[in-house]
């Protein structure tokens, strides 16, 4: 555990050093991210606005939900970008080299890059939450508590996304086409999480509480923050669910590594 962390921090430092030459890219990517996030947010909000709220959720409440999803989704894009782009490890046998390293394969892969270009998601997600939260008056009385609750929500969400991106990468050990499976395991659920889950039929909702447990990463934390039912204790449940999901995903990863076939003979 400690070794893993030491290795991770040393590698992350190196990656950041190697990236200093791409400084301009950071601002560029922030700008393009802004366009994407704005477009997506606008569609989400316009839909809610057009129908005067969905199932008791106002436009700004949905905006908060969106910010929560964007920020936690950004965390995995920054720190687990190698898993997001895992195909190349499998297609040209790059994973061979990972397996000759004296550390957990997941740590070794993940620590190979920190994608600061994706920071835009986190920054914009937090900004969206701040704006929506202020308009909703969340920070008027117990600002610190609301802030802490949102932070815990982002943390729980990050764990859930990390679990999903790990699981879908591990599926690659069997199919070698990670990119084709990401829409179902990552992007679809991510879009779903930007709306109140109560809008979906039972089957979908069950899916989002179990196999693709995105409910614990955005919907449930948002319910707590917006005082829509569950008390703050539910946040602990969300964190627990996130940790459990990540543990299961890592177990699946280990199982997948056994089936890694390298390339050629």
């Amino acid at each position: 555990m400690l070794d893993g962390w030491r290795l991770y921090s040393a590698m992350a430092r190196m990656t950041l050093m190697a990236r200093t030459s791409y400084r301009a890219n950071f601002w560029l990517s922030l700008f393009f991210n802004l366009i994407m996030v704005t477009g997506e947010l606008a569609v989400t909000l316009l839909i809610v606005h057009r129908v005067h709220g969905i199932l008791g959720w106002t436009t700004y409440q949905v905006m908060l939900l969106y910010g929560l999803t964007a920020a936690s989704g950004g965390v995995f894009r920054v720190f687990l970008s190698e898993l997001h782009d895992f195909d190349r490890y499998l297609v040209n046998g790059e994973f061979d080299a990972i397996l000759t390293r004296p550390a957990h394969t997941w740590i070794t892969v993940v620590s190979r890059s920190v994608d600061l270009d994706q920071m835009g998601w986190v920054i914009e997600g937090v900004a969206i939450m701040a704006v929506a939260g202020s308009i909703l008056g969340l920070f008027r009385h117990h600002a610190l508590i609301a802030g802490a609750e949102l932070a815990m929500g982002v943390l729980a969400g990050s764990l859930v996304w990390m679990a999903l991106v790990t699981a879908v990468a591990a599926l690659g050990f069997f199919t070698t086409r990670v990119d084709e499976m990401q829409p179902m395991v990552l992007y679809g659920p991510q879009t779903a999480a930007t709306f109140p889950l109560s809008a979906y039929p039972t089957t979908l909702r069950t899916l989002f509480y179990t196999v693709l447990p995105v409910a614990f990463g955005s919907y449930v934390p948002a319910l707590v923050v917006l005082h829509k039912g569950p008390g703050p204790g539910a946040l602990m449940l969300c964190l627990g669910a996130g940790l459990l999901a990540l543990a299961l995903a890592l177990w699946f990863w280990q199982y997948g590594v056994r089936h890694y076939t390298s390339t050629g003979t």
């Binding site: 990517s29 477009g39 084709e180 809008a199």
Partner: protein, 286 residues
Amino acid sequence: MFRTHRRRPSIWYNSGSVTLPRGGRTTGVFFFVARASFRKNLAYVGAHMANNAGSFLFGLIYIALWHAAARGRTLGPFHAHELVNYIALSQAVLWVSVFLPSGLDMAQQIRTGSVAMEMARPVPYVPRMLAAGVGEAFYNLVFRSGPLVVAFTLLGVFPWAAFAMGKGLMVAVALVMAVLTGVLFQYLIGLSAFWTVETRWARRLFLGLSVFMSGQLLPIPLMPHGLEQVLTWSPFQTLVSLPVSTWLGAERPSAWVAGALWVLLLYLGAYGLTRRAQRRLEVQGG
């Protein structure tokens, strides 16, 4: 450079596994190019089905949303069940216009320098790459849109009833325009590799804008008034809104005019920029 090659009849042309024998007609070449793009995808049908399941999930999410949100109401020109139909259609159409291979693999050609050789082939470059794109779109129509249409039909949300016979031709024309617009956009994204290091920004910009401007999730007539006016005249509306609205009988004449104009403009743009790129290539010596 372009013109001199055009005068010569094609000799040998290789694309994937297709070899056109001596004396092939230029129009025939485009068919072979398209067919090669179609065929090269056949090896990945299995993997693509997983992606289809993702598209289906997307569709389900938005269908559920509109179902819950509109519930028996009429919004703009659409009744609640038509909005559900709209999403099902939109998910199928996206695959032939928006979700085409990024930059038609031109970025790769440009990075490796093989583009100089490709441009020197005896068949004009722009229409040839467009033909490759059309081949991709046709593959997507059969193996991406097809399964989605089946799935949505089984779910009972695919609007077969709205598809009257007389409308068939109109829908077909709208779809062709959607494909052409989508392929032209990808061509321009690929061509941008001549001037920028990475094409992924152009690709993201295109995807980001199309979420909002093509009407894929929120139909354009349901947008606030000013925005609606602007978006009706954008090239993005041809990608999804035009064919889907035509199918549902809710399109406006202005959408047709805008769509046709943009296909022309994008083609001219592609042609002009390609010539500039060629000149650049000659200056740099490949």
